[in-house]
Assembly symmetry: C2
Homo-oligomer: 91 residues x 2
Amino acid sequence: MYLGKRIKELREEKALLQRQLAAELEIDTPMYSKIERGERKAKREQVIKLAKLFQVEEKELLMLWLAGQVYELVKDEEVAKEAIKVVEQNL
Amino acid sequence: MYLGKRIKELREEKALLQRQLAAELEIDTPMYSKIERGERKAKREQVIKLAKLFQVEEKELLMLWLAGQVYELVKDEEVAKEAIKVVEQNL
DNA sequence: ATGGACTTGTCAGATTTTGGCTAATTTAAT
DNA sequence: ATTAAATTAGCCAAAATCTGACAAGTCCAT
């Protein structure tokens, strides 16, 4: 998963533990673990908080977060590419 | 909405009434009306049935249906374009 | 002003999502 | 190999969302 992969990188760079970030986000550790692995999706607010904690651009993480959701939506569809292109046109 | 616009066109081309299509899909007319206007989203099965009824490529309607969902997901996000591009890369 | 087509609003029931708990597994160090 | 810490898996109830149906409304032509 897009966001999960990135925040895992960031967490390891800064040598933080899942439970520390979980505490910051006020969720439990298993939940944070799931977000990192993309098993659960973070909420917008949590992504923003993570950007602050890691001191990276909010936009970067929000973009990955959104991309992950789009990917989940289209991944099993034969017409995924075409659909994406159509949306891209109209943005 | 992508799909709604298209099935309205098709319905008018063939001079059919909403209630006729609603009957085919086994839903009530208000529901069909909402699907056409994009107020409710059709389910996959209904889209396929509609393609058969209108005698158009299943793929065409499924693509529009998917595009509509993607659009709903990203439309209010500042990072929509970038996110879409990232997904496009990885398909 | 009646009738037919379509739309709007509402609502309970069904389905999904969510958060947190416990327990299992993996990892790292001694 | 044993322990302790970190991470993951599985489960369950509460909350939120989605669904289908109905009643009532508008709009338009006759």
